[in-house]
Symmetry: C2
């Protein structure tokens, strides 16, 4: 078993933090995304047709792509500590919050980077105007998330979950595009400080 990963990309970090919280050790194989090894036909054919990291390779050769699919696989094999919630209702709410963090925080942050960064220039069809729309959406959602975090310790409630991992990786990735927590967003800053101080955040 191993995980195709990248030390500089936000989604592989989600899986590393998740596994660190569970104290699960899996070997990582670094994929050189700066040289676009992940976009080459060989990687697409043998590992992931979407050309993305991370990908979990099982001992039988099965490839499981998509960060949350990988995390859920390990949640099922190693339920403790629970990072997807406990019981049908809480699990549904954790999934809701994780998806909100994916679609409303990570997605605009990532699309800002894709459409405005030097890194992606010439690699994809960039639309800088759309990047700025996404930047504005990300900044607006930080205001909302700050208000939400006035009422509770973590994203989905009183328990640290995968939704915190997704949100942390998104917020940290935002800094690359100068999307930052504002001085008045004290709840968001308090939350980031707490989740960043967990040993898993350095995984």
């Amino acid at each position: 078993m191993k995980i195709y990963s990248s030390a500089v990309a936000p989604n592989p970090r989600r899986v590393r933090i998740f596994l660190a919280e569970k104290e699960i050790q899996v070997p990582y194989e670094d994929v050189d995304i700066s040289s676009a090894v992940n976009r080459k036909p060989e990687y697409r054919k043998n590992i992931n047709p979407m050309g993305e990291v991370p990908v979990l390779e099982l001992d039988d050769g099965t490839h499981i792509a998509e960060s949350v699919a990988i995390c859920r696989y390990f949640e099922e094999l190693h339920p403790e500590p629970p990072l997807f919630g406990v019981g049908a209702k809480e699990r549904a709410l954790v999934e809701m919050w994780n998806r909100r963090m994916e679609f409303h925080v990570m997605l605009p942050v990532a699309q800002t980077f894709r459409n405005t960064s030097e890194f992606f220039k010439g690699r994809i069809a960039q639309v800088p105007e759309y990047g700025e729309v996404c930047r504005a959406a990300a900044e607006k959602i930080y205001t909302w998330l700050d208000e939400e975090l006035a009422t509770r310790r973590f994203i989905a409630g009183d328990r640290f979950t995968i939704a915190d991992i997704t949100a942390l990786c998104a917020v940290d990735f935002g800094r690359v595009s100068k999307i930052r927590i504002q001085p008045e967003q004290k709840n968001l800053a308090r939350w980031r400080e707490e989740v960043s101080s967990r040993p898993s955040a350095r995984a």
Copy 2:
């Protein structure tokens, strides 16, 4: 229990098909998205801060938003027929395929509509150039999906799953933006024909 829904939007359709496959009856309350009722402060405050449908309201007043969170809640309460896979590995692969359908089919299809349609003109900051980037991405992914479906009956394997539901709702929604299965994409057309002929597709 009830579900805030809309007859014309693709995500509420995912939940309706899912529940029809399970033969679960839940009352629907239509939200008039053409009048943007879902974007108004009252809806955001009381039902879903993201301003989206569908939302499941439980009898205790809890609101569960996000289509897949709603579906997974019902999967847990009514496991048969399984629509998220059986066993840790298959469940991970179904999640992978469902997410591929969300991020690589539904997302570009939806972003084409958002950025090029009359419906969203004046409602959001449209970037038509980005809409065309998404249209090209959707058309390219159809070519890939057609090749994938040469090897198996359904999106994630031999079993009908939530990944088929997501893909069907995405492909049908694409037609609104004139993103269509091409005549040479015979596997994709065969798959669509089969999943569309299930009674649930009319839910």
